[in-house]
């Protein structure tokens, strides 16, 4: 996938204006709350699950934006809002300059062609009782772009393109393996030549040898069709491999965002640092040499997120301020202009968070 062009210091203003045309999707301050109904017949709303709580992001043409975070951080909800599958509570989603937030069904239709989705579970996302050819052909039927023989030809071309045998047109999903099913999902998403494909954990359910096949396919398709991806995964190495820039989410908010390289190599948010240090590396020497930051506790409930910085109860660097004042997502001293961190006490170069975390847990280092 295309390399991210790191703006040179001092030139970033020019680069920004040049890149402005590249913006495909702009999300501003997106909020999605799910009501929690109380018991009884009336079912009053007793609380809100703050799944996404003020997230802004930019997806650029032909580029991949990686979205990482743990279970319950809101990454899938965010994706579904952008795809228009669920309405947003507030905030705006702009696609090529058009505001597509909560558009009525009919008005959303033309944009749905441009934004497609690939889901995690290649078993659950394909109707087991329909033939593969008709599953992949659905987008043509729905949008009325091809019928009859033309549709069949288009479907078979798609199947060939994603590495499936076009002669298997009449088979059922059950006759395919997990990796092949995910290719079916890719073909379906690709059918209408969208500009953006939202990939929600597209390879998490696959074995590593198959995972690499699908990742390579996605990379090839991006090169061929100039696709942009919003790529959601919990596997940090996979996200690092595919992304140009990365957003790290924690409990419905952005903890850190920026070009891939600085976020991975010099993470400023303690959560990013912990996440990166916790990810298992398939390399014994690197694993032994690494200072793993073991956090205390689990991710808190998004119904009642902690005050101030949402990460503060688990953070090895937390101080009084963190519990009272929510940090703004901003550029920290010494970082490139596109690298934003929401932290009062960002990680400094050479700082040993692993020992700090151990001290918090009350263990001797």
């Amino acid at each position: 996938m295309s390399a991210f062009v790191d703006p040179e210091p001092g030139q970033s203003m020019i680069t920004d204006s040049l890149l402005a045309d590249d913006v495909l999707v702009q999300v501003d301050n997106l909020v999605k709350h799910f009501p929690v109904k109380g018991g009884g017949l009336i079912g009053r709303t007793v609380a809100q699950v703050k799944a996404v709580d003020g997230v802004s992001l930019t997806v650029r043409r032909g580029q991949t934006l990686g979205l990482v975070g743990e279970t319950g951080c809101g990454k899938s909800t965010l994706a579904r809002c952008i795809a228009g599958l669920i309405p947003a509570t507030s905030g705006t989603i702009t696609f090529e300059g058009h505001n597509i937030t909560n558009l009525p069904r009919r008005k959303m239709q033309p944009f749905r062609r441009e934004i497609q989705m690939i889901f995690q579970d290649p078993y659950g996302s394909l109707n087991p009782r329909r033939r593969v050819g008709s599953i992949i052909g659905d987008p043509f039927t729905i949008h009325g772009t091809a019928t009859g023989a033309a549709r069949k030809k288009a479907v078979q071309e798609l199947m060939e393109r994603v590495g499936l045998n076009p002669e298997h047109f009449n088979r059922y999903p059950a006759e395919f393996s997990g990796g092949q099913r995910q290719r079916i999902g890719v073909a379906r998403a690709l059918a209408l030549r969208p500009k953006l494909i939202i990939c929600d954990e597209p390879v998490s359910a696959l074995d590593v040898s198959i995972q690499a096949q699908v990742l390579n396919l996605l990379a090839d398709l991006q090169d061929d069709f100039g696709l942009a991806y919003l790529f959601i995964a919990h596997d940090l190495e996979v996200v690092r491999h595919v992304s140009d820039s990365v957003i790290v989410m924690y409990l419905g908010r952005v903890a850190e965002s920026g070009p891939k390289q600085p976020v991975y190599e010099t993470p400023r948010h303690p959560y990013t640092a912990a996440l990166l240090s916790a990810a298992p590396a398939a390399d014994p020497e690197a694993a032994a040499a690494r200072h793993r930051i073991i956090l205390t506790g689990d991710v808190p409930s998004p119904i009642n997120p902690p005050s101030g910085c949402r990460f503060h109860p688990r953070c090895p660097k937390a101080q009084d301020l963190c519990g009272t004042e929510e940090p703004a997502l901003e550029v920290k001293v010494g970082d490139v202009e596109t690298h934003l961190t929401a932290c009062h006490y960002p990680v400094q170069t050479g700082e040993n968070l692993a020992d700090a975390a151990r001290a918090v847990r009350g263990e001797a280092s």
């Binding site: 743990e70 393996s177 040898s209 690499a212 940090l236 298992p280 398939a282 689990d298």
Partner: protein
């Protein structure tokens, strides 16, 4: 004598579609205090392999031997096996929610485990022990939490409770079947850290079954790589990662995105894993292998030594010159370069140049 010594274990399941050959002649052993990692993809037989040992694979046709402290587990009657299971060999499963009974309190379930093996312990003593165990696995306020139901625990806490249960009778061997797969990265790190700490404290043997080479790299001592019901390669952790011999092991390692090569194209293994009903002839990996030779189509390779000491074994016909010690050193050197440890890389390179035959001391 190893704690567990499995010889030529074969497990097959007759089904309507044919016989599923889940495990096809696997031998391995585990010593006290060691961690054996078993790695393989879905359908490689890694789970059936260990469940068979505990009598948890009903309907399977089993042959082979599994000696555990002098008794053959496969020859035991169910009642005898029940004495060993839990008390001497315990299991931690992947999904802690379905492994815990939803209608019983966590503490009760741990106490029940203790009392089912030793009736002389009173209910009160057993609960007391459950509190102590929960504290030991890092559950905060164990005296209160012992009365919680599983749904009141988070995923990570449930897995801690499962570990507490597995430890409750101080077993000699713990089998952990994908214990962290359902958990988030930061929680996975907590659980691996805990498992490793407890394993070291108690000197237990641990079999870690996983599809994640990262977990193996983190905690295993020795590694068994499984493919289509057979052992493809058996080696120390170091040799598995830096001097892999079997093309499948190499393929697995190359297909993982690696931080030092993030811009490069991934190198996946071509094709799909085979059906265990209709296995390919000869070596089961040959349709996917990039090094395939004529004899791979007809003969099934045995697991034979490929290193000097004999500990490193691979089931592949490729010549073992490819994995001599100098290659191991070369791999380590290349790795050091990739990681930016140039000083170490230079020292290894010098050692290779000076004594092409005996640089193993440098690697260690």
């Amino acid at each position: 004598m190893p704690l567990l010594d499995v010889t030529d274990l074969r497990v097959s399941f007759p089904t309507a579609d044919g016989v599923v050959q889940a495990v096809r002649g696997v031998s391995f052993s585990v010593d006290t205090g060691r961690i054996l990692g078993i790695v393989g993809e879905s359908g490689s037989g890694k789970t059936v392999l260990t469940q068979t040992l505990l009598g948890l694979a009903p309907g399977g046709q089993i042959t082979g031997k599994a000696m555990f402290s002098g008794t053959d587990l496969l020859a035991l009657r169910p009642a005898q096996l029940r004495q060993i299971r839990g008390a001497q060999i315990s299991v931690i499963f992947q999904d802690p929610l379905t492994s815990l009974h939803p209608l019983y309190k966590v503490g009760w379930q741990i106490a029940e485990m203790i009392r089912s093996h030793d009736k002389s312990i009173s209910r009160k003593q057993a609960t007391e022990r459950a509190v102590e165990l929960l504290g030991r696995v890092g559950i905060p306020q164990p005296r209160q939490r012992v009365n919680d139901y599983p749904h009141q625990f988070s995923g990570g806490m449930r897995q801690r409770a499962m570990i507490a249960m597995a430890l409750s009778l101080s077993p000699k061997l713990i089998i952990a079947d994908e214990p962290t797969t359902a958990l988030d990265a930061t929680v996975q790190a907590q659980i691996l850290d805990l498992l490793l700490k407890l394993q070291q404290e108690m000197g237990t043997a641990l079999i870690m079954i996983t599809h994640d080479l990262g977990v193996i790299a983190d905690i295993a001592d020795d590694v068994l790589v499984m493919y289509a019901g057979r052992a493809a390669e058996k080696a120390s952790k170091h040799d598995t990662f830096y001097a892999a011999h079997h093309p499948y092991t190499k393929g697995l390692l190359e297909s993982i995105p690696h931080s030092s090569a993030s811009a490069e194209r991934l190198k996946p293994i071509i094709g799909q894993p085979p059906s265990l009903i209709n296995l390919p002839s000869g070596c089961a990996f040959h349709p996917r292998c990039t090094y395939v030779m004529d004899r791979c189509l007809t003969d099934e390779p045995r697991l034979i030594p490929v290193g000097d000491a004999g500990a490193h074994r691979s089931a592949c016909f490729l010549p073992n010159t490819a994995v001599g010690t100098s290659d191991a050193a070369e791999a380590t050197r290349r790795h050091a370069v990739l990681e930016g440890r140039h000083e170490q890389a230079r020292r290894i390179a010098e050692a290779i140049a000076e004594s092409p035959e005996s640089e193993s001391s440098v690697i260690a």
